[in-house]
């Protein structure tokens, strides 16, 4: 891989650092941060391990409700709330992963979908006294944080929240990069390429997949926690299967075979939604159609195709 391609994640962080000034308004930039993180976390499983999950909304949602519920009912501090959200996602993944990974391929995908929906209905119906049911959990407080003796609220301004979230995002990108380029990351890819062979080489692939599942849920849950803080609401639709679908679409749109592709995909997805929504409420129609086109003709995704074109161009030189 060329020097630039290998360093593209640094480029991403740089772009994200100035994103609010490139885009027309902060809200969309913040959404891109949150969902980009979600998609990248998701891609640990899809792009690197080769596991198609249709239930990742569960982990995003567990992060959202974990943070939301603890901030509302337990009145914890902000960092604690986020930590609880992430922990909820990882704990959920431990159980869900254990069960879903008993199967492979399409059965695995359907199992994750079933569990995702299970969590949705638990929040909608069974625990609606706590979760607020259809309306979600409103009025999530955002306690001020103290840094170096100063106390301030991260939601003081849209920009302040953006950079609060940016720090989490940038750290996550760096950590994910480390993980996916480590020996562990190499094992993940061997599983994606040929699980049986990986097993016969001596890897306990079930355990490895489970750990990948946990990592994936960690970052998805973090994105969910940030979502709850940003909107001051634990929204029910974060658990709905359309949110799982969003993760899938963003990842594939951007390029599941690359590291930063999912983030690019999230950005494109949200920008398309934003732009098209001005003209029509049927933005999902366009995104759905575009997604179909990508599956048919551009399986490498936007960033993947760009990287490939760049690579071929360099070969010619």
């Amino acid at each position: 891989m060329s020097f630039l391609s290998a360093r593209s994640y640094l480029g991403l962080i740089l772009v994200l650092a100035v994103l609010p000034f490139i885009l027309p308004y902060e809200a969309i930039a913040t959404q891109i941060l949150i969902f980009g993180l979600f998609a990248m976390g998701y891609n640990i499983l899809l792009g690197y391990t080769g596991l198609l999950s249709f239930g990742h909304a569960a982990f995003f949602g567990l992060g959202t409700y974990g943070a939301g519920l603890s901030l509302v009912y337990l009145k914890v501090g902000l960092f604690t709330g986020i930590l609880i959200g992430v922990s909820a996602a990882v704990l959920g993944a431990m159980g869900v992963g254990l069960l879903c990974l008993k199967r492979k391929g399409i059965y695995f995908a359907m199992l994750t979908l079933a569990f995702g929906q299970l969590f949705y209905f638990l929040a909608l119906v069974v625990f609606d006294n706590y979760t607020g049911g259809d309306n979600g959990l409103r009025g999530v407080p955002v306690p001020p944080i103290s840094v170096g003796g100063y106390e301030f609220s991260v939601i003081k301004s849209p920009l302040s929240f953006y950079y609060f979230a940016f720090i989490f995002c940038a750290l996550s990108i760096l950590i994910m990069h480390r993980i996916l380029h480590s020996p562990f990351g190499a094992v993940l890819q061997s599983i994606r390429e040929n699980e049986k062979r990986s097993q016969s080489c001596g890897y306990n692939t079930n355990r490895v997949k489970w750990v990948a599942f946990l990592f994936s849920a960690f970052f998805s849950g973090l994105a969910g926690s940030l979502h709850a803080v940003y909107y001051q609401l634990a929204a029910l639709n974060t658990l709905y299967w359309t949110n799982s679908g969003a993760a899938v679409m963003m990842t594939i749109l951007g390029g599941m075979g690359t590291f930063i592709g999912p983030f690019v995909g999230a950005g494109v997805f949200l920008l398309i939604e934003d732009v098209i929504s001005v003209y029509t409420t049927s933005w999902q129609l366009f995104v759905g159609a575009i997604f179909m086109l990508f599956v048919l003709f551009f399986p490498l995704g936007i960033w993947g195709t760009l990287q490939e074109k760049f690579r071929l161009w360099r070969l010619k030189e």
Binding site: G105, I106, Q117, G245
Partner: protein, 295 residues
């Protein structure tokens, strides 16, 4: 009386379950056929269900004749299915097995939003055809005539399908292809034509389920989505690729949902997902599916 509910109520609920279940069966059979033959998970199947309902509405608006709708709808829906298969699913043949799943996932959004665009977001009621309104006295309770009609006609459709699959040579090829597509190809049969046909039949079935369901639940852009997931559960429980499984599981799940709604209204949906998870874990090939069809 059991738990404060009369026997009459229970049996009525059983009939309800049967009727709901049979509609599931129509959906599940289509899904199962498509999966069994093509290993394609048609995520857009619920959208064909919805499309069928809207086509029915359209036809009713045009002719006022429900029976005409019943004929028109499966044809229109099946035709759409054929177009979809030829231009979007077929090109994916030979690629990763997850690709058709992803494609139909995108298709689902396109279909639902298109319907929203054309017919609006709020949906419409669908009048029960006058010939089929009113209750029927079953002796122990009154039961809507229309629902009995649905039971009768779905049984008829399933029977016709069974005859087609078991007794015609084309049906034999389809069944053979479901079990061993390589063999069928080796025998010189053009598999792509069979795929074409099966996708059309499967979606046509979804369409007719939609128009049958319309008088009971109205017509709404989102009506396909819940049905899709429930149809999946039926297919998984019955066994992917097994028609007998789809029939039995469909009725079973319909009855379970019906009774759960009676006793624990909250748990209706949850029960469905728990059963799906349990089946996938304990016996992933479902009650009647092939072992190791796809792990």
């Amino acid at each position: 009386m059991i738990g404060g509910i009369s026997y009459a109520s229970l049996i009525t609920q059983l009939f309800m379950g049967l009727q709901i279940g049979l509609v599931y069966v129509l959906l599940a059979v289509g899904l199962s056929l498509i999966f069994g033959l093509m290993t394609v998970v048609n995520f857009a199947h619920g959208s064909f269900f919805m499309f069928g309902a809207y086509m029915g509405l359209f036809m009713m608006g045009l002719t006022g004749n429900f029976w005409a709708s019943l004929v028109f709808v499966p044809l229109a829906t099946g035709l759409l299915g054929l177009v979809v298969e030829k231009f979007t699913v077929r090109p994916l043949y030979g690629r990763d097995l997850n690709d058709p799943l992803l494609l139909t996932f995108g298709l689902q959004f396109v279909m639902v939003e298109s319907v929203r665009l054309i017919w609006g977001t709020t949906g419409f009621p669908f009048d029960t055809p006058s010939a089929l309104t009113g209750p029927v006295n079953l002796g122990f309770a009154l039961f809507p005539l229309y629902r009995i009609f649905v039971i009768v006609i779905t049984v008829l459709i399933i029977f016709l399908l069974w005859v087609f699959l078991e007794k015609t040579s084309l049906g034999l090829i389809i069944r053979g292809g479901t079990r061993d597509s390589l063999m069928v190809r080796v025998l010189g049969i053009d598999l792509s034509k069979i795929w074409f046909l099966v996708f059309g039949i499967g979606t046509g079935l979804a369409g007719i389920a939609g128009v049958l369901a319309a008088p009971m639940r109205g017509v709404h852009p989102d009506m396909g989505i819940d049905m899709l997931i429930q149809a999946f559960v039926v297919v998984v429980v019955g066994g992917m690729g097994s028609l007998k499984g789809a029939v039995i599981a469909g009725i079973l799940i319909g009855v379970v949902v019906s009774f759960t709604t009676l006793f624990y209204p909250m748990m209706g949906e949850v029960i469905i997902f728990i059963s799906m998870a349990v089946v996938l874990l304990v016996r992933p090939s479902g009650l009647f599916g092939e072992e190791g069809l796809l792990e």
